[in-house]
């Protein structure tokens, strides 16, 4: 008789939720048979038997979350005598699985018997505070709940469903901070685990753009002035037209290119970084982009962003500001496929027309998903940004 423990299905997994048992006490199982489905908050996994035997007892019922190493069933090995009625001593301590557990590939369509939901939808549901179990039937394959279903559900129930209700005042900051930290940790770990990043950089001469902008701003009242990051955002949005495969999502093994350009803009809060979207950034004038960015930053600081803004960016831009480091090589926000980074604008030595000159410049970087695009195309994208910024009046 041996305990069957909650297996570790990844280095970052510390607990798992039992979605369903595929066996019941008395069933004979063979090595490799699926015993149960476990949800790790990122995907549902089938867990297989690691040896032949007979299921004696199910110790943890579906719907319960237990730490890795917790005994969840007792399985009598073939040839072993049936368990007697004497109580089995309680396990002293959670321990690692007694044998390597074979795990089937993560099910992209998350085919838990009670809940078919895509991994993206699951993440989005968590972000939006939607209980996917309450969505009757999804619009995806075999009725799987998709991101769109979750977003529709969130929109329908926006009021009652705001699970992110302000926590009680005491310790509120701390829990908010920890919640955001957890979300960042989960997204960034997933990114580095799943996305084969490649990185490119290009130094861009910004003198023409900044000179043009200073002239423009000099004649404007303060509320109509444009900040330099807005020029950079606009250049990114237009460069996407030339290399559209950087704009979209990698879902279920394929690139889903987006027709719209929803620019995620990384905003640093005390509690962590968030990247809400400026919708249809490519169609906006500099003035509209400036207003959108000012509004977004202000609402981000006050915690009044809308759920859609938090989840539907098609590409993200991180600008570490005029006081930031030289360059930033970002981590892609999954399931997006690219992230553009800008370092500090500063005078740098550049060779222009054969002359060594000091020019205000910025180092633009691209982190991109090599499954969705190649370095050659990524290079074209950075060059397009540089070219667009040489002619700011056309932005």
């Amino acid at each position: 008789m041996s305990d069957f423990n909650m297996p570790s299905l990844g280095a970052d997994m510390d607990e798992g939720e039992i979605l369903a048992w595929k066996v019941k006490p008395g069933d004979s199982v063979r090595k490799g048979d699926v015993l149960l489905e476990v949800d790790t908050s990122k995907a549902a996994f089938d867990v297989e038997a690691d040896h032949d035997g007979v299921v004696e007892e199910i110790l943890v019922e579906p719907g319960h979350k237990v730490p890795v190493g917790t005994p969840i069933a007792r399985i009598r090995q073939t040839g072993e005598a049936p368990a007697e009625s004497k109580p089995v001593p309680a396990p002293e301590k959670a321990k690692a699985p007694q044998a390597p557990v074979k795990v089937a590939a993560p099910k992209s369509a998350g085919q838990a018997p009670h809940l078919r939901i895509t991994p993206l939808a699951r993440v989005v549901a968590k972000d939006l505070g939607v209980d996917p179990a309450k969505i009757e039937r999804g619009s995806g394959i075999d009725g799987a709940i998709t991101r769109a279903d979750v977003e529709r559900a969130a929109a329908r129930h926006e009021e009652p469903h705001v699970v992110k209700a302000p926590p009680p005042p005491s310790g509120a900051d701390k829990s908010k901070r920890e919640g955001l930290r957890d979300a960042i940790a989960a997204a960034m770990s997933r990114s580095k685990r799943e996305i084969p990043h490649y990185y490119l950089s290009q130094t861009i001469d910004l003198d023409p753009a900044l000179n043009w902008l200073e002239k423009l701003n000099a004649g404007r009242p303060i509320t109509e002035r444009i900040l330099s990051p807005v020029l950079l955002l606009k250049a990114v949005a237009h460069a996407i037209w030339e290399v559209p495969e950087l704009n979209g999502y990698w879902i279920d093994g394929a690139l889903n290119q987006s027709e719209s350009v929803h620019l995620g803009v990384a905003i640093s809060l005390h509690s962590g970084v968030i990247a809400p979207a400026i919708h249809d950034a490519d169609d906006k004038s500099l003035e509209q982009l400036m207003a959108a960015l000012a509004d977004l930053v202000q609402r981000a600081r006050h915690g009044t962003l809308k759920p859609a803004e938090m989840t539907d960016s098609t590409i993200t831009v991180t600008n570490l500001g005029d006081r930031g480091p030289e360059a930033v090589y970002g981590v892609i926000y999954p399931p997006q496929v690219a992230l553009v980074g800008f370092g500090a604008i500063a005078p740098r030595a550049m060779v222009i027309d054969g002359q060594l000159v000091a020019r205000r410049s910025v180092i633009a970087t691209l982190s991109a998903d090599h499954r969705a695009s190649d370095g050659h195309r990524g290079g074209l994208f950075l060059r397009a940004i540089a070219r667009l910024l040489e002619h700011p009046e056309s932005l």
């Binding site: 900051d173 303060i222 900040l227 905003i267 930053v297 202000q298 005029d322």
Partner: protein, 79 residues
């Protein structure tokens, strides 16, 4: 003077709601101590302009670096 300072702190707290008014140091760069970016700072300058009825040209932004700077700037502009 302190009323003016309080008004400016009030504007700052709208831009940086996570900040603690009591901890804003009068002579330290606001952007550094409040950890705000150029967009926040511009929002702050716009709020200053509205509050005090000033037209603040871009070249004056560096004169609004610290809380003391801001107080002195508003006073110098005759409000």
């Amino acid at each position: 003077m302190s009323e003016l300072k309080d008004t400016i702190v009030g504007l700052l707290l709208k831009i940086a709601p996570e900040a603690d008014a009591a901890e804003i140091k009068p002579n330290v760069d606001l952007r550094d101590q409040l950890d705000i970016d150029s967009m926040d700072h511009l929002n702050f300058v716009i709020a200053m302009a509205k509050q005090f009825g000033l037209e603040i040209p871009e070249k004056d932004y560096p004169r609004l670096t610290t809380l003391d700077d801001c107080v002195a700037y508003v006073q110098s502009r005759g409000t």
